[in-house]
Amino acid sequence: MEVAMLVNLLAAGIRSGTPLLFATIGEIFAERSGVLNLGVEGMMLMGAMTAYGVSHATGNPWLGLLAGIIVGGFMALLHAFMTVTLRADQVVSGLALTFLGMGLSAVLGAPLVEVRNAPKLPAFPIPGLSQIPVVGPILFDHNIIVYIGFLLIPVAWFYIYRTRPGLNLRAVGEYPAAADTLGINVTRLRYYYVILGGMLAGLGGAALSLAITPLWIEGMTAGQGWIAVGLVIFAGWDPLRGAMGAYLFGAIRRLPLDMQNISFFLQHPTYGYFMNMLPYLFTIIVLVIGSREALRRRVGAPAALGVPYVREERGA
């Protein structure tokens, strides 16, 4: 019985952590290149709205997914133009992007609220593997978007830490002047990765509206974009830890619901607040413990994060 509960808990965590996973890894890419993008919430909402709308209009959820990714990328392009080319304040521009995304998705998505069953991405229990006890239901009995998330994690990790372009990415975020002298085009790379981050945020939003909570409802991300921004920090800009944090967050959101019939806990006056705080608290604690290792190895924020790069200017 307890095993079954744990299996359900972990499966639910992986499922509902998936949109968060995409957004978190996207933001890791952007921040690794030195650009903070606080517009994740707005990009996710635009991605979610567009994906749902296109899926409804074309009848093909995959086209919807693609459209969500593209729109996320365009939103991020705006941010890249503001912060990389115009060197505007990254915080201000990011916040503006969030407001823009919230407002625009609400206006453009208004007719979609009436649409209640646009085509969704399919559930896909992997034949054979999903039959394995315990492991099967946790890992291999999910919507297809969840497996895309599984694939993204090692790919992102390998790209950032083990490939030459990944090294360039990190260089641009740590010490753009040095990267520049090596012939790396800082501006271009920052554009690339900010846009990639936006595409992944758009994918996260599309995952929500096409698979995880498949509907378009105004403001449906309910703050998950902000959680992604926070997770990036606590994950120490590492996609593996970011993924762990995203899944954990999903699971801990479910835990207090499963535990509600343990009454002494429920009777405490702060139960409701505590319950809604728990995912944040627990994720922070685990990632802080996890980051002790990272601290020891002196891995932290990209040194040039938030600093516009101006060629031949001192500082950077």
């Binding site: 909570t213 309910a222 998950q224 499963d258």
Partner: protein, 421 residues
């Protein structure tokens, strides 16, 4: 490279412009987070500039303003109110002009917004969230010539401020009957209820559902999970999943989105939506019914009173016979959803018929003997709860105190369940 600074300034300006552009659009956020932008739109198409824009009134018409807590695109509570506003416009034609403000945070902001609407010349203001109660009361004192209606509260004055709510518990009772019959037929004998907050309104609805369920399935138990939000799609779904995992074959939601119905569909089980009549559209095959609000007729009724000068402060609590409450599949011109067991349809129709005739009300549901979920007697034989009991009122000026206050869980709810404090 000195021109860089002017680029920076320009960039900041554009960013600021973007912020304001976003504020001018009907931006929104989940109602419970608050602190977000409020936006305005009026039928007379007042150009939106920035921030909270108080709409214009139309000369020669009776102008009615609505203040919404969420976005009209929430597909639930506010959406249903907005449908009611559109119905009011349709029915009253040229006599009435309406305007609305959405995502207005509860509290001090709300008071300012309501006051500005009154000052602007609106003849009536409807405020549709519990947290607008005190602001509405304050402004109603200041503008005796404007009529105010507050939805889901319990305050009023003697002249121009009324409160409005309805006996959704009636529809929840019928919903419980349907869910119980379904669970009995499935052999699960277990139903789930997604409960937003531990407040009298939600407890009353869940209790009514449980009492209804016991009518058609005396062995059934009602599982209940508190989620402490009206609107958080992922959490609403997870609460439903949690109860399906615990063995329920039907989950009824008391929160805003139809997510729990979708979960039911994914598991080939049964869900029940809430708030808005289109909640079943997400998966009609697996959706048993929706108890929904149909605010339109009640709005029309009140506005007609106002225009005739007959409106006064009152506690208005409408019943099914007002036409403002619906149960999908059982109202005029509707067919029961395919998942509803045949056997329960005539039973539901019979009681609904009595409700529509005014012969069966919330007080009939809450008449003893009723036990709580631990088996203790709460309402003795022959005793009927009062309106104050149902609303859990105590210490409210002008209202009697409750004696059997709505802070107990009814028979049928799982014995381990508690009301969080």
């Amino acid at each position: 490279m000195r021109h860089n600074r002017s680029w920076l300034v320009l960039g900041l300006l554009v960013a600021v412009a973007l912020v304001f552009a976003a504020c001018a659009a009907p931006a929104s956020a989940p109602a419970d987070t608050g602190g977000e932008t409020a936006a305005a739109e009026s039928e007379s198409a007042a150009p939106a500039e920035s921030g909270v824009q108080i709409p214009e009134v139309e000369e020669g018409k009776f102008n009615v303003a609505f203040v919404y807590v969420g976005p009209i695109g929430d597909g639930g509570w506010t959406y249903a109110h907005n449908q009611g506003r559109e119905y009011l416009e349709e029915q009253m034609g040229d006599q009435v002009a309406t305007a609305y403000l959405e995502s207005v945070p509860e509290g001090a902001d709300a008071e300012r917004v309501i006051r500005n609407l009154a000052r602007k010349g609106f003849d009536a203001v409807f405020t549709t969230s519990f947290g607008y109660m005190d602001p509405t009361e304050t402004v109603a004192e200041e503008f005796p010539d404007v009529d105010f209606v507050h939805v889901s509260g319990f305050k009023k004055n003697d002249t121009n401020f009324a409160n409005l709510f309805g006996a959704m518990e009636d529809m929840k009772y019928l919903t419980g009957m349907i869910a119980g019959a379904r669970a009995a037929e499935d052999g699960s004998n277990r139903v789930g209820y997604v409960a937003p907050f531990p407040i009298p309104e939600v407890i009353r609805h869940a209790n009514a559902a449980s009492l209804g369920m016991r009518q058609t399935c005396p062995e059934c138990q009602l599982d209940i999970r508190w989620i402490f939000t009206w609107f958080y799609p992922d959490l609403e779904r997870q609460a439903a999943e949690s109860m399906f995992d615990a063995g329920a074959s039907v989950v009824i939601t008391g929160a805003d989105t139809p997510g729990p119905v979708q979960v039911a569909g994914e598991r080939d089980l049964w869900g029940v939506g809430y708030d808005s009549s289109n909640a079943c559209d997400v998966d009609p095959e697996h959706c048993l019914t929706v108890p929904y609000w149909n605010w339109g007729p009640e709005y029309v009724h009140l506005v007609e009173q106002m225009m005739a000068g007959e409106f006064t402060g009152a506690d208005i609590y409408f019943e099914v016979d007002s036409g403002a409450l619906g149960l999908l599949g059982f109202m005029d011109g509707q067919e029961p959803q395919p998942g509803v067991p045949e056997s329960v349809i005539p039973q539901v129709q019979e009681i609904l018929g009595k409700m529509e005739a005014g012969e069966f009300t919330r007080f009939d549901i809450f008449t003893g003997p009723i036990k709580n979920n631990k088996g203790e007697e709460i309402v003795p034989e022959g005793v009927t709860l009062t309106q104050s009991d149902l609303e859990g009122l105590s210490g409210i000026p002008g209202r009697e105190d409750c004696t059997i206050c709505m802070s107990w869980l009814a028979d049928g709810i799982v014995p381990d369940a508690e009301i969080p404090q």
